[in-house]
């Protein structure tokens, strides 16, 4: 055994070029499979995580308005098309939804203002977000420290707030923010809690109505509406007066977020809400109803297809790699049949020949397999860092590609050598 290991090792050294070729075949086969499956897995994993963030059974109604005054010519030339009056998205819409839509588990309005937050010494641009306490239940938002605000605090318009984790560190770099005061506009708010740091919320989620919890400040909506600026109190007249400049947002609310008890109800309730709101807004579609979960699931289906494709490419590269390994091994044993005959003539037993070849093939294949794993992992990280695509390396892909290519190498290195060892040495010696 030790003797044959030494013979095998010397033989590999004597045939470096062939060994390198085989190793390369295995390295690329294993590396490609691991990295491709990691890319596919990563995309899948990301969507699953996003599904957790958007929550299940949620419907989001968003108000739509144009920031710039619409003083284009067509409005003047065609007065029949002049905007019909819409009250915008209001708390009345919310109570209406509660009356009409069945099986609501939780519901919350949301307003948000671009503003600045001030601690005693630091000023940061942020978004002040006004919500009901149920908002945090809908999205499973947990706190790093302190407490959520209660319905009671909301109803009595208490001047309290929760800070996003990143924002809290920016405003209070050295001290504990709990109990401290943060100022937005003319409103002084007491910090009662800090939201747990979340993995970055991707852009596609923000477009679905999910907030960036790390950088925002959360205030009871009643407090924000009554003490900050309630856009609902702006009259139609006000709006007309501003017709040449920046138009104020006429909507009292930016969003209404509904969580239903049952997932079967989500799609029909979404449609019901659309119809009802359209009627209430005088047929003006100044809102959008979306079901983030559904959007993500559609995205997931596309991704699944992409994964299948990646998997197919990976399998093909494994098969092609395997055929390559097989070819080199077969060819190298073919050209070595005479060597086998000669070794037999000078006294090698059948078993010596078999051991030599199985050890050679195993050593080359295992070495290639290990380097291939390292390459696959490195490639996956490179894709994550340089292409900013999420990747997730699966043990299964490592196992599968390693076993398949290493086995191919060993089997096809060994089988022909095994045959040659069983042959009459005279025939092997005559082999050209």
């Amino acid at each position: 055994m030790i003797r044959n290991a030494r013979i095998a090792f010397e033989s590999i050294l004597a045939n470096k070029f062939r060994a390198i070729l085989t190793t390369l075949g295995i390295i690329f086969g294993v590396g490609a499979v691991i990295s491709m499956l990691a890319i596919g897995n990563g995309a899948q994993q990301q969507i699953l995580e996003q599904l957790k963030i958007v929550g299940v059974n949620n419907i989001i109604v968003k108000s739509i308005y144009e920031k710039e005054a619409d003083n284009s010519e067509e409005e003047e030339s065609d007065p029949s098309q002049a905007k019909k009056y819409s009250p915008g998205l209001t708390l009345k819409d919310l109570s209406n939804i509660m009356e009409v839509v069945p099986n609501i588990e939780l519901i919350t309005p949301e307003v948000n203002y671009e503003t600045y937050a001030l601690s005693s010494t630091i000023r940061k641009k942020t978004k002040a977000i006004g919500v009901d306490p149920s908002y945090f239940k809908i999205f499973n938002i947990e706190l790093e420290q302190g407490n959520h605000f209660t319905q009671l605090q909301n109803n009595s318009k208490k001047k309290v707030c929760l800070l996003g984790s990143t924002l809290s560190k920016l405003l209070f770099p050295k001290s504990n923010p709990i109990g401290k005061t943060v100022r937005i506009g003319r409103l002084n708010l007491q910090v009662i809690g800090v939201i747990k740091k979340m993995g970055g919320v991707a852009d596609n989620l923000q477009s679905m109505g999910i907030n960036d919890y790390n950088n925002e400040i959360y205030v009871p909506i009643e407090t924000l509406l009554s003490r900050f600026k309630d856009r609902g109190k702006i009259s139609i007249q006000d709006n007309r007066n501003w017709s040449n400049g920046k138009k104020e947002n006429p909507n009292q609310l930016d969003k209404i977020i509904v969580q239903l008890k049952n997932s079967e109800d989500v799609a029909p309730s979404g449609e019901l809400m659309s119809r009802m709101m359209k009627r209430r807004h005088n047929e003006v579609v100044d809102f959008a109803v979306s079901i983030p979960e559904q959007t993500l699931k559609q995205q997931k289906e596309t991704d699944d297809l992409f994964n299948w494709l990646l998997g197919a490419i990976a399998s093909i590269s494994l098969v092609v790699g395997g055929i390559g390994i097989m070819n080199i091994m077969l060819a190298s044993v073919q050209e070595r049949i005479k060597e086998i005959g000669l070794r037999r003539a000078v006294g090698a037993k059948k078993n010596d020949i078999k051991m030599q070849f199985i050890l050679e093939a195993s050593f080359i294949s295992l070495f290639g397999g290990v380097i291939g794993i390292i390459l696959g992992i490195t490639l996956s990280y490179a894709v994550e860092i340089f292409l900013e695509m999420p990747t997730k390396i699966s043990i299964f892909s490592i196992f599968l590609s390693f076993v398949i290519s290493v086995l191919t190498g060993i089997v096809f290195g060994y089988l022909p050598a095994n045959n040659a060892a069983e042959q009459n040495p005279v025939n092997s010696l005559k082999y050209e």
């Binding site: 003797r3 013979i7 010397e10 004597a14 045939n15 005479k338 060597e339 005959g341 000669l342 070794r343 037999r344 003539a345 000078v346 006294g347 090698a348 037993k349 059948k350 078993n351 010596d352 009459n424 040495p425 005279v426 010696l429």
Partner: protein
């Protein structure tokens, strides 16, 4: 030392049977230098391969020092080749990727209890004996035909075999080189080596002590 009795060998290719040896009786004594002559196809290589235990006879008896070789199993036959026989082939049969030293040491790799130092020392000694003490590290393609055959002879000698079997050892060499190879065999014989030389050339056979002639599978 070696006694062959009524050795027959029949080759079967598909439906065809061909009897290459038709009852060979032959005795080889220690320190014999025997030439086996005969035209091409007369069965010389077949007989030599049977004596070297590379092939088995279809029937007949093969004794080495009274030991029946035809009854050994494959592992024992491998050991027999390793210990008792040294082959020299017409086409040298050196391993192209190995140096002269490694090629010569090959039989010792398969002999028990020989470490690398001993193997290299013996191989070097043999290469010096055949006059290639300065070519230890050369690969076969860095040597002439005559030098390659000397490496092959050193390899045949390295494990001190009872019998050297040389099948047309000068068949691929020019006459001058052939002569120097034949001188080498003569020297080895003078030192006590038993040699069986296969050739179809009369001049080459004249280097031997005794000549037997094979014709259509029988000794005449």
């Amino acid at each position: 030392m070696i006694e062959l009795t009524n050795i027959r060998k029949t080759y079967i290719t598909g439906e065809l049977e061909y009897e290459a040896l038709k009852g060979i009786d032959l005795t080889i004594n220690p320190n014999d230098y025997l030439a086996l002559m005969g035209s091409s196809g007369s069965g010389k290589s077949t007989l030599m391969n049977i004596i070297g235990a590379l092939d088995v006879p279809t029937s007949g008896e093969y004794l080495l020092r009274k030991k029946p070789i035809h009854e050994l199993d494959d592992n024992q036959i491998s050991e027999f080749r390793n210990q008792e026989i040294g082959f020299v082939f017409q086409t040298f049969n050196l391993l192209p990727k190995l140096s002269a030293l490694e090629n010569v040491g090959l039989p010792l790799l398969y002999a028990d209890g020989i470490e690398k130092e001993e193997r290299n020392a013996k191989s070097r000694e043999m290469l010096e004996l055949v006059g290639l003490g300065d070519k230890l590290m050369n690969k076969p393609n860095e040597m002439s035909g005559g030098q390659r055959q000397r490496v092959a002879i050193a390899r045949a000698l390295v494990n001190s075999p009872s019998l050297i079997l040389a099948d047309e050892p000068t068949g691929n060499l020019d006459s001058k080189t052939s002569e120097s190879i034949m001188e080498l065999f003569a020297n080895l014989h003078a030192k006590g080596q038993t040699i069986l030389l296969v050739t179809h050339e009369k001049e080459i056979s004249e280097f031997a002590q005794r000549t037997i002639v094979l014709k259509d599978g029988i000794i005449i």
